[in-house]
């Protein structure tokens, strides 16, 4: 099914089709290797009869829309207070070592993006690490080599 057709279905959920812009952007991102290229934004705009500029103003507001290419696997470590008290800094450093990239960047082969992120709502199970939006709980620095090995398959 084309994006345009899927967006038409999304529009029906809401009294006003403008409400479909967030799910439409999510969908476009999923179908475009995990990021919103100018072309992907334009497709959403066309499907919703909005301007690309409007869609970009939405995409740039929310953290989960990526406006630059991201790795096929996104590793995001929560570094808010509770995770910080549990040693999130060491978890980030361990991922930096194992993946060979610094937080906030993507590996050259496009395989991994590593990020630090705001509270993921798992404070009691710190440190929380989101791998492509799936949460791993109670991660400690010494668990990281095993996790990376598993991701590398």
């Amino acid at each position: 099914m084309s994006l345009a057709t899927e967006v038409q279905k999304l529009k029906k959920r809401y009294p006003d089709s403008l409400s479909a812009v967030m799910p439409a952007l999510r969908l476009a991102q999923e179908e475009n290797d995990g990021w919103l290229s100018p072309d992907a934004i334009r497709e959403v705009a066309d499907a919703l009869e909005l301007t690309p500029a409007y869609c970009l103003s939405i995409a740039s507001f929310y953290d989960q829309y990526y406006l630059e290419p991201v790795g096929r696997t996104r590793v995001e470590v929560c570094t808010n207070v509770s995770c910080g008290l549990a040693g999130a800094q060491q978890v980030v450093e361990a991922f930096e070592r194992e993946l060979g990239i610094s937080a906030g960047s993507t590996s050259e082969d496009g395989a991994y993006t590593l990020g630090t992120i705001e509270c993921l709502g798992g404070c009691g199970w710190a440190t929380v690490v989101a791998v492509n939006n799936r949460h791993r709980l109670r991660v400690q620095a010494e668990d990281v080599p095993g996790i990376v090995q598993e991701l590398r398959g």
Partner: protein, 442 residues
């Protein structure tokens, strides 16, 4: 440990989940919904009033009263909306997530009761984008309810957020749901009159809505017997930080902080000393070990100079530098500021910068005064409380740990000498939009 009533998590005290609709119904599920539908909307609201239930999202507003502000359909002939705030993202808070994962039908049953109470045929659940599994559980549970013909003509739409703490503020949430940037609106008009699509709307938190189900099961008067005056019922406390057994604990309001942290949470690990407690999510004023006998209810926490907030309790032991804590909390609010009001947009950034200067040992005495002054210029000067949250938190750290802040200035360095438990704490790396700078720590 005394036995405590399990109201929200009923039937799952062993930590299990009820994800099968048949199992839920066999255990008495949907009786509250049938009971509610046999009552008039006003009678449902009367039960809520009698229960004393107050909002569990942070503002503690009486739920029945909130619903009573929604005009009757004949007074305002527009569609009425129930919007559920499942955008849980206040640091220290992780209760709504466990509710949605473990008792999704109890939550959805509450949605339908609430819809009946405000005479709405349209429910929107705004769930934070990071909650993938929780979204799937709700989607599957809703499908099962639809098949079982339980929705009674009510449409329930799951709307996924995309990573913006501000959308937990109700008017920002409504903007976001309408397909706009999540920026708060001016009030009035209040959502009850002109909320979603400018129509009458009730906005309630997940735990509040889930509690509606047992209120109808037990009857409002019976529910009100739980807890203490002004804070009826149970509360799901999210316990995290430097504590032996972190997790969500459903307990009656009015339990003491000592009981929560020591008897239930197992106390502070590794023989460390309790230094500070953030009692209701990161936007509430910090308390110290001297406040350990404070009761965890609305009035007692106000009297102690703080707030019950979202009941997200963060325990902090004596290894933590309170300036570093301030930096990390302020970085959060700076990152999440929507940018609409200048005092918040500029002030939260400024607060972080001054705190960093203090931590680095570059601050003069005047910088501490400046910090307090900037906080004062944020407080109460914006459309929503996001900036206030930063100011309230930071002001409380300076107030309760003034000597520690002063020591940074006097010594010209952090007195923890690199040994603080938050040493090297990292800010969010803003993957969604690169601004051409590398994170400072690399």
């Amino acid at each position: 440990m005394a036995e405590h009533p399990s109201i929200v998590f009923a039937g799952t005290t062993d930590g299990s989940s009820v994800l099968d609709i048949g199992e839920y119904e066999k255990a008495g599920g949907f009786t509250a919904l049938r009971k509610a539908r046999a009552l008039s909307p006003d009678e449902v609201i009367a039960e809520l009033d009698a229960s004393g239930l107050r909002g569990r999202g942070g503002a503690f507003f009486p739920t029945g009263r909130k619903w009573s502000f929604v005009p009757k359909p004949d007074q305002l002939p527009k569609p009425h909306y129930l919007v559920v705030n499942a955008d849980e993202s206040e640091p220290g808070t992780f209760k709504d997530r466990e509710i949605m994962l473990r008792v999704p039908f109890r939550f959805l049953e509450g949605c339908l009761i609430a819809a009946h109470g405000i005479e709405s045929q349209h429910v929107f659940i705004y769930i934070r984008g990071e909650y993938e599994r929780e979204f799937e559980v709700l989607r599957d549970s809703l499908e099962a309810m639809q098949k079982a013909d339980l929705l009674g003509g009510v449409t329930v739409v799951l709307h996924r957020g995309a990573g913006a703490y501000i959308c937990g503020e109700e008017t920002a949430l409504l903007e976001s749901l309408e397909g706009k940037r999540g920026q708060p609106r001016t009030k009035p008009p209040f959502p009850a009159i002109a909320g979603l699509y400018a129509a009458p709307t009730a906005v309630n938190n997940v735990e509040s809505i889930t509690t509606v189900t047992p209120v109808l099961e037990l009857g409002g008067a019976e529910y009100a017997k739980l807890g203490v005056e002004n804070s009826s019922g149970t509360r799901v406390f999210s316990l995290s930080g430097d504590v032996v057994s972190p997790g969500n604990y459903e307990l009656p309001h009015g339990i003491s902080m000592r009981e929560l942290i020591y008897d239930i949470g197992g106390g502070v690990p590794n023989g460390r000393e309790l230094k500070a407690v953030i009692p209701g999510g990161s936007s509430t004023s910090v308390l110290t070990d001297a406040d350990i006998d404070t009761k965890m209810d609305f009035t007692s926490l106000v009297e102690a100079g703080s707030s019950i907030g979202s009941a997200g309790v963060i325990v902090i032991d004596d290894r933590c530098c309170m300036v570093q804590l301030g930096i990390r909390v302020s970085q959060f609010y700076e990152h999440e500021s929507c940018g609409k009001c200048t005092p918040c947009r500029v002030g939260t950034r400024w607060v972080t910068q001054i705190l960093q200067k203090i931590e680095d040992g570059r601050a003069a005495q005047a910088d501490l005064d400046l910090l307090l002054s900037v906080c004062d210029r944020i407080m109460g000067k914006c459309l929503c409380p996001l900036g206030d949250s930063d100011a309230i938190a930071v002001l409380s750290y300076v107030d309760k740990f003034r000597d520690e802040y002063q020591a940074h200035i006097d010594l010209g360095r952090c007195p923890f000498d690199g040994e603080s438990s938050l040493e090297g704490i990292l800010a969010p790396s803003d993957l969604h939009a690169h601004h051409g700078h590398e994170p400072a720590h690399v």
